[in-house]
């Protein structure tokens, strides 16, 4: 029986009923990976260790919740003794001496990490085109981008190689690729999942999350990914619920906000049609719609492009060629060592963001840019606080359109930045948000975004699961058959 496109729930039951052994499952996963190398979804494979863990699981009884489930890990998470590049030449030979907390959490729950997925360099990009390791293909079409920055993870799940992958989301890097690849992706509340061992891009925005075929699988993964971690000072010390517990509860009478300022008239009419149909569907499930005004939300993208580069320029100053990572050959002196290492190790987009960050943080410009952006960030957060007094969730398209061709955004970086128009606000306010497949435009999948209030992942998953119980967009596969 093929394991391709199987959900975590399916695979767990196959393993428990002994329809397949742990080792067979992992061997078949690698057969799938090897048959789909043209996607370029993986940077590094973890074959020997994965087979060893599977063999061990076969030899002894194991009650772990995710025992034997193959998972692809975004190459931004440190994995002990397994190369971690963050999509960059700077870390092309970096072997971390420890694993990120979230990786340990998943592996302790029984997950088998099969490899490290391709991504935009240091998570800076929305199409996976900034990776030092080459573009990733979207399984839905030749030369289509998978989105980014978690493009390899999205492609690996979408093509049915693995049921689950980890991603990270600083401005939309889980939700946007989930939308473009037709899968489900969740960015939890800022602080829900420990950032320890995640290679930092913008520390006040970065958050890890699950990517899978269904909301139910995302809930199962989230249960294991969350933990309070003393090693991350922004890790939340809040109750962690069972995220699967309430997903079956009906949403009748619950309120969905539609953001007035998200101007859909500029989008392709087919994209708007798909969105309107989803609204009707939620109406048929008993949800009520309310128009909500978030007056400052149109300033989200400019705010983000001050805050994120500022934090990036500070975080990435650690790459100096001294303690780990790449070092240039034959440095003349210390300054030459720093400058040449960084100039050779970073790609164009990363350099661009570091330069912007240095500019907005420099003396004389700090108040005009960085401080001002942080003030606007508060206005945006205040708008959300007020909105959630009236509604349970907010709803919008995840992206402005479906997947586009590689190279088609031209050389103007702002065109690419606008890809994250709908996703950035949740990062600025620290709110949980997810994307679920809700239709097709030109035979390419597209996603619906739901944003929830602080710590209300369960409610988001409930809305998403109710949708997926009554639609089949998430069951369509790039190879044509329905699961």
């Amino acid at each position: 029986m093929s394991i391709q496109y199987k959900s975590i729930k399916n695979l767990t039951s196959m393993l428990q009923n002994k329809e397949i052994s742990h080792k067979e499952l992992i061997n078949e996963t690698f057969t799938l990976i090897e048959s789909k190398m043209d996607l370029n979804a993986f940077i590094t494979l973890n074959k020997d260790a994965a087979i060893e863990k599977a063999t061990l699981l076969d030899s002894k009884k194991n009650g772990s919740s995710l025992a034997g489930i193959p998972i692809a890990q975004k190459d931004l998470f440190c994995t002990k003794d397994l190369r971690t590049t963050c999509g960059s030449n700077m870390l092309s030979s970096f072997i971390p001496p420890y694993s990120a907390t979230v990786i340990s959490n998943l592996e302790n729950a029984g997950c088998i990490s099969v490899g490290k997925t391709n991504m935009d360099e240091f998570a800076m990009g929305s199409s996976n085109e900034t990776s030092f390791y080459g573009n990733v293909e979207n399984p839905w079409g030749k030369n289509l981008v998978p989105g980014g920055s978690s493009g390899g993870s999205a492609s690996a799940v979408s093509s049915g190689i693995v049921p689950a992958a980890t991603g990270t989301d600083t401005g939309g890097s889980i939700r946007q690729p989930a939308s473009l690849c037709g899968i489900t992706g969740l960015k939890p509340t800022y602080g829900r999942i420990s950032r320890w061992g995640m290679i930092a891009f913008a520390s006040s925005l970065d958050q890890a999350g699950p990517m899978a075929r269904t909301a139910e699988d995302c809930a199962i993964l989230l249960n294991e990914m969350c933990s309070h971690d003393n090693k991350d000072t922004t890790s939340l010390n809040e109750h962690i619920p069972d995220f699967t517990k309430d997903i079956d509860q009906p949403i009748k009478g619950m309120k969905i906000g539609i953001v007035k300022e998200f101007d859909l008239s500029k989008l392709d009419s087919e994209v708007v049609k798909v969105f309107e149909e989803s609204k009707k569907h939620y109406e048929s499930l008993g949800a009520e719609f309310i128009e909500i005004s978030l007056p400052n939300i149109s300033l989200s993208v400019p705010t983000y492009y001050v805050v994120a580069p500022a934090e990036c320029s500070s975080n990435l100053s650690r790459f100096d060629g001294v303690k780990f990572g790449k070092r240039c050959d034959d440095p003349k002196n210390l300054e030459d060592l720093y400058i040449r290492t960084r100039s050779e190790g970073f790609g164009d987009e990363v350099k661009r963001r570091i330069l912007i960050g240095s500019y907005v943080l420099s003396a004389g410009f700090y108040d005009a840019y960085y401080k001002k952006a942080q003030q606007v960030r508060r206005l945006i957060k205040n708008d959300f606080d007020e909105a959630f007094l009236k509604v349970d969730v907010l709803m919008s398209p995840t992206t402005r359109g479906p997947a586009f061709k590689a190279g088609s955004k031209g050389s103007d970086p702002i065109q690419m930045y606008l890809e994250d128009l709908f996703t950035i606000p949740a990062n600025l306010a620290g709110l949980p948000a997810l994307s679920i497949p809700n239709g097709f435009v030109d035979n390419k999948p597209i996603g619906l975004q739901l944003i929830g209030n602080f710590l209300e992942e369960s409610k988001l998953l409930q809305f998403a699961h109710n949708f997926q119980k009554t639609t089949d967009f998430h069951l369509k596969t790039p190879s044509g058959e329905n699961i």
Binding site: F94, P97, E335, F346, I354, L355
Partner: protein, 93 residues
């Protein structure tokens, strides 16, 4: 944003600009700065900056050693080291 500013921030960032590509970088940065200048439209009088969505104080903990000393593990991963130190080009003659 002009070439001179770009050269200064590139130096502050310890990044060398590709020769021949300086005009393109200057234009890109100029456009990005123009784009973020939209922030001038917001009235932020009296608004406290939001540095982190949690707005919680950084957690403190007792200062005790919890990690084992793995000096060798870390030095092994450095591009250049001896048994005790990370090595860099000579700074003091």
């Amino acid at each position: 944003m002009d070439k001179k500013t770009v050269t200064t921030i590139a130096y502050l960032s310890r990044i060398a600009l590709d020769e021949g590509n300086e005009d393109k970088i200057t234009t890109d940065l100029e456009n990005i700065i123009k784009f973020v200048d939209q922030l001038d439209n917001a009235n932020v009088d009296g608004i406290e900056p939001l540095t982190n969505p949690l707005e919680k104080k950084a957690q403190t903990r007792e200062d005790k050693v919890t990690a084992e000393n793995r000096k060798d593990t870390f030095l092994d991963r450095a591009p250049k080291s001896n048994e005790d130190y990370f090595l860099v080009p000579r700074v003091v003659e």
